[in-house]
Symmetry: C2
Subunit: 226 residues, 2 copies
């Protein structure tokens, strides 16, 4: 038997993985980033094949890892975690530097970054693992600790996006989904965003059927009362 | 420039990766374990080619991941992290179950475990990455959180073993290494163990030259005053 609760006991960090150049760039939030060797220093980043950034990494052969701190802005996480670069220019308005390969490096809410050149790609099914040799790194803020994936879920009321290796599909329960919340709170099953009647002008039940989640664009019916 | 401090900002968990069967089994401490896909659930474990366990995984094609809790016993970490299965039967005296593939699963200081069948091996230089499809998992203790790699280093005064992907080689400084510590404390550069004169019968300086680190077997000259 596979109890998915076991996967939730694993620990990760939280990163923005970016790729591209000055003309076209994109990034996404990932917890699946890790060092695979020390000599030479190599980092693996596991990216869903459907991710817009995945295609850019394949094209350019380089990516950057921005390590988020534990007070990272929710707006940064929501932009990079729950929107697609196919719809939005995520780098617009962000603080961005460009590495030696020309790759964009996001600096908002970031304490350190790593620039990598892809040396191997591994097809693991729904995802591609990009093994990258580290070209350069920089620590830009020594005052804050890194954000862990656990903190991200707790502090930000967010869940792993549908494209993440660690995404867990919550069982759909039509009775519950259409039910009324006694707490006045409704949670998006796609991103974890909580709609709280007490903080909004319109109670959740009165929202039109074509209303969508302000964070990830999921349908009203994707919310469940909590 | 590669500032290795950037790597220290990345977050990981702490696991025992085991392989083998009832006749021959071994395990090692790893932080390089992560989920790479959700459908099907697949886990990657990155293992040094010199690791005794690495050879057993290659032979048997399966491994288990034991997720350590945040109060994991130092003796468990030291046994699996700083000794080699070539010298010691690490599973002797441990609480061990065997999975469907026959793989040993260590249960000491563990809150959950995952059994995997290798579906792909990736050569990444000094290390091999074993991509495993998850066969079964179990949460065995819901009362404690997982231990993070950061907590392991802080609580246990340990550093990543020389075989770990995240091992950082401290610059050797012969003046410092042979110097006297004003605090009476000397740290092993290989495993992080601290020899504290105030807690020992023999001051560090009076130990014989062939004395070795009780945790990892490093030489006396591998210690530095702190």
């Amino acid at each position: 038997m596979i109890d998915i609760e076991a996967f939730k006991r694993m620990s990760y960090g939280l990163y923005i993985v970016s790729s591209g150049n000055q003309d076209e760039g994109n990034g996404y939030i990932s917890n699946s980033v890790f060092q695979v060797t020390a000599k030479p220093a190599q980092i693996a980043a596991c990216c869903n094949k459907d991710n817009y950034t995945s295609k850019i990494i394949e094209k350019t052969g380089s990516y950057s890892i921005s390590i988020l701190h534990n007070e990272a802005e929710t707006s940064v996480i929501d932009k990079f975690g729950y929107q697609s670069g196919a719809d939005v220019d995520k780098l617009q308005g962000m603080k961005v530097e460009y590495g030696g390969t020309g790759v964009p490096i996001v600096l908002n809410s970031v304490i350190a970054w790593i620039e990598c050149k892809v040396v191997k790609t591994v097809d693991v099914g729904t995802h591609i693992m990009f093994i990258g040799e580290v070209l350069q790194t920089e620590v830009i803020d020594d005052s804050k600790p890194s954000m862990t994936y656990k903190e991200f879920k707790e502090k930000k009321n967010r869940v792993a996006p549908a494209n993440a290796p660690t995404h867990i599909e919550e069982p759909s329960d039509s009775d519950e989904t259409s039910g009324k919340s006694s707490s006045g709170k409704y949670q998006c099953t796609q991103c974890g965003f909580i709609y709280d009647d007490s903080e909004e002008d319109t109670p959740f039940e009165d929202l039109p059927d074509d209303w969508t989640c302000p964070v990830c664009g999921a349908k009203k019916s994707d919310f469940k009362p909590i």
